[in-house]
């Protein structure tokens, strides 16, 4: 019931552009772990639905920390993270987090459909049984990502690209606007990367905000339309083509 209002904002696989004004904004965000110094220092930027954003920086630059802070997995020390001008922490259903491939236990006894059904958890909660509306959303997510014929497979019995699409399908089933991906292109071959890039772009065009950590400078401008260069502080942020200048990259990756 509740989810109807969320659903209206996202159109599914229709391919037509959808101009929404959903807006993610970070104001002076600092975050870190058990050390005295924060890993992220004073990060401020804003991004709107409809775009794909790459987080780029060397190891230890704070890409994962930023993803964790956005996902609400890490409390921020200072500043605020806003979604449509309200704190994001109060709107957790808007965030879908996709783990790195190496973090997933692919032997876990779970089928493709059950994995996608997990996305309904924020709407259903602990006890409510899924109704037809939920089943339809799961079906739609499976169809959109071309997984419908594979839905009864155990997730370990899929190709790398299909596995990635399972997690994207779960994000769709969650009806979240913000997709957070941790190094999604790691370990994919060239055709696999291209397919995923196309997919991420179309998901963004349907009205979502896709944010991914990315380590490959060569492909970044081809895959993402925005880039954020990060080395603990924000070095540069804007359209990928504008931001990825030799100057900025030197600042982000000193000594490379």
């Amino acid at each position: 019931m509740v989810s109807h209002t969320q659903e209206e904002h996202i159109c599914w696989g229709g391919g037509h552009h959808h101009h929404t004004h959903h807006r993610l904004e970070l104001r002076g965000v600092s975050a870190g772990y058990n050390t005295a110094e924060p890993v992220l220092q004073d990060i401020s930027f804003a991004a709107e639905c409809g775009s794909t954003l790459a987080l780029i920086g060397p190891n230890g630059a704070g890409k994962s920390t930023l993803l964790n802070a956005l996902a609400g997995l890490l409390p921020i020390w200072k500043g605020e993270i806003l979604w449509n001008n309200a704190p994001l922490t109060a709107q957790r259903h808007e965030i879908a987090y996709l783990p790195q491939r190496s973090e997933v236990n692919w032997q876990f006894p779970i089928t493709v459909r059950q994995l996608v059904e997990m996305g309904r958890y924020p709407a259903l909660g602990v006890w409510r049984a899924p109704c037809r509306h939920d089943e339809e959303i799961v079906d739609k997510a499976l169809h959109t990502l071309g997984l419908h014929d594979l839905q009864k497979r155990q997730i370990g019995a899929l190709s790398g690209g299909q596995q990635q699409r399972c997690f994207l399908a779960r994000a769709l089933a969650q009806e979240a606007h913000i997709l957070l991906l941790d190094e999604p292109f790691t370990g994919l071959d060239v055709p696999g990367s291209e397919a995923l890039a196309t997919l991420l772009r179309s998901l963004a065009e349907e009205g979502r905000l896709v944010i991914a950590s990315h380590h490959d400078l060569v492909t970044a401008t081809k895959i993402f339309d925005k880039a954020l260069l990060l080395r603990r502080q924000l070095i540069a942020y804007g359209s990928a083509a504008d931001v990825m200048t030799p100057d900025n990259l030197n600042q982000t990756f000193p000594g490379v």
């Binding site: 609400g72 996709l98 783990p99 006894p109 997990m118 958890y121 602990v126």
Partner: protein, 280 residues
């Protein structure tokens, strides 16, 4: 054989049979959590800490009906504090340091219990003795089983998400840390009951083998719970009927039966067995 039929009419035998079924079931049910978390080694250290835990409990509070429960709780604390200690002093890797810590604790616990003149009890705790269970022990086993089944069934949906993908679970608002503590507490509780059935040395088998067997038979995480429970319960009951005529120790027989069932699944599982149709 006639002996055995007569034996079955005795209240002691009936109580043991019930205990086998209930303890096997609740351990099998909870074993799904151990297998899905891939934390059998951690549980191994926990079952090693049971004996020193009980020794400390008896030293602190004296020997009483619930000393095993108190001992298991102390064992859980020992493991928790031991892990914390190890992670603070990280020159050694965790396995190495915990091995030294736990064998030492185990040896000390043994010395203390023997020193207290509890030789017979120690044997029961090390190898299990269902026949020695009193009515209260049986009731404790029932209550533990009920807690396990009710809490896991009620929280199955968030549990499976958290076990599979803890980070996504946390973003969905599932309190993963709280669930982890809950799982740990539940495991300590079922250890209390399995300690009496199979003893400290073999509890790990009862807490891993049932769900490990189901793991080879199904692609549904939710079936690991009930399937593991049925395998654990029926396996323990089968062991009860085998052990008397064969003259085998009951606790050991339970583990042998469960190990045999696992081996059968390992070889013959239609989908994941060694002899499955198409190997890819």
């Amino acid at each position: 054989m006639n002996d055995f039929v007569q034996f079955l009419y005795e209240p002691l035998a009936q109580r043991s049979l019930w205990a086998c079924g209930v303890i096997g079931f609740s351990n099998g049910f909870v074993s799904a959590l151990v297998v899905l978390r891939r934390s059998s080694l951690q549980i191994g250290t926990l079952s090693c800490a049971l004996l020193p835990g009980i020794a400390l409990a008896i030293l602190l509070f004296g020997l009483f009906q619930l000393s095993i429960l108190a001992g298991a709780i102390i064992a859980g604390l020992l493991v928790g504090l031991g892990s914390l200690f190890v992670s603070r002093t990280s020159r050694l890797d965790q396995d190495t340091a915990l091995s030294v810590l736990h064998t030492t604790a185990f040896a000390l616990g043994y010395i203390i219990l023997i020193g207290l003149g509890l030789q017979q009890k120690v044997d029961d705790w090390l190898f299990g003795n269902i026949m020695s269970m009193a009515d209260t022990d049986l009731w404790i086993a029932y209550i533990i089983g009920a807690i396990a089944v009710l809490s896991i069934t009620a929280l199955q949906r968030p549990l499976i998400i958290a076990l599979f993908d803890p980070r996504a679970a946390a973003t969905m608002g599932i309190p993963t840390r709280l669930l982890n503590y809950g799982i740990f507490a539940l495991i300590i509780l079922v250890l209390v009951s399995s300690l009496q059935a199979v003893g400290a040395f073999l509890t790990l088998g009862l807490l891993v083998a049932p769900a490990a067997t189901m793991y080879l038979l199904t692609d549904r995480a939710s079936w690991l719970f009930w399937g593991g429970g049925l395998i654990g319960g029926l396996g323990a009951i089968a062991a009860f009927f085998l052990s008397y005529p064969l003259g085998w120790h009951l606790g050991a027989t339970i583990i042998v039966v469960l190990g045999t069932l696992f081996l059968l699944a390992y070889i013959f599982s239609p989908k994941y067995g060694l002899l499955r149709g198409n190997q890819n």
